[in-house]
Symmetry: C2
DNA sequence: GTCTATACGTGGATAGAC
DNA sequence: GTCTATCCACGTATAGAC
């Protein structure tokens, strides 16, 4: 089994159980590999596994979010591509964000070096799009922060209420509200 | 030592370390009580302790948030009282929300019976205020959800970036943006 | 590269004295 | 109501055979 495949199996476990809740036994069971085999691939143990997953997600973000945001098309089209990717990776709001999971609790310090730049690069890239759309640098940056904040908040609420409607609503309106456009599904919210 | 005092000491521990990261040893050290003494107060152990903290927070919310929202004054004044309380309990965004902490990871199921109504009652109460302010029931409800979602999102982001500016910004503008009012510190965001 | 077996610490929890 | 002492399960991690 290749390391890449293992990392792919690790993601849902860490997302579901959190860092401390993810035990080697669970990982062993999910992957079918013995604990010793896991240490063969990740000599530094669980922490290294989580870091590998974060690195894997970084590549995913680069390909499926950052590149789309910096790609061809109007600002609206680029933002729509972003929300589409977000819907996918968070399974319509039913899955938590690993960045958030790992930034809470005891594990925080171990991963902040990966978590912080992850959010920062997302915000910065959205800022670029909004500057393209005509907003001032400062205004664009605050709006970009708002975007991330609303996504994360909707994920929190969807999880807490066991109901993903808030995530769906935020995803639907976000590209339009960021650009101050009224669209059909959210006429009353961006005024 | 009274149970009330113990619960007060438990809150910061669960908030900081999460449920799995909060060990009896840590609690014992923080409270100065031996493990056996803790079991005298909470026979069902750690889970009962966390539930007691959630119950304690419920009372706090009732007194410091719900009552203010349903109290005297204009809608704006009531919302300002709410954000003031939020600033306090989250220490200007430097502290996490226990509801969010406990709704993540392995512990989720044990506490959803307390977490879900907590968010629901907050949303419902804000909805009442916004209906008072003239919004339709449906519109008010979505805005109330947005309020909670933005608060939670700003806490997530403040924690992840180790920088509470997003929390401060959301708290400053929220009472105004909910009511579609332009205020001095956030002219450009409620368009 | 994967396994079995095992070591070691620590977590949650309890018994029983005071 | 708090303590000391202790139990058991399970967590991370390693040794060594295949």
């Amino acid at each position: 089994m290749t390391k890449h495949e293992i990392v792919n199996q690790l993601l849902p476990i860490f997302r579901r159980y959190g860092y401390e809740g993810t035990t080697l036994s669970r990982i062993s069971e999910a992957t079918g590999l013995g604990k010793a085999s896991l240490y063969h691939h990740f000599p530094k143990g669980k922490e290294e596994m989580a870091k590998a997953v974060l690195e894997h997600l970084k590549e995913w973000r680069q390909i499926h979010v950052i590149n789309h945001l910096l790609g061809e098309g109007s600002p609206l089209e680029r933002l729509l591509a972003m929300t589409e990717s977000m819907r996918l990776v968070y399974d319509q709001g039913k899955q938590s964000c690993l960045l958030t999971i790992l930034s809470m609790g005891d594990s925080k310090e171990s991963f902040s070096a990966q978590i912080q730049p992850a959010f920062e690069s997302l915000i910065e890239t959205i800022t670029v799009v909004l500057v393209d759309a005509g907003f001032s640098k400062q205004d664009a940056n605050e709006r970009a922060e708002d975007a991330i904040l609303q996504i994360q908040g909707s994920l929190v609420l969807s999880r807490a209420l066991d109901n993903n409607s808030s995530f769906q609503r935020v995803m639907s309106r976000l590209p339009y509200s960021l650009l101050n456009i009224n669209n059909q599904t959210s006429q009353t919210k961006e005024q």
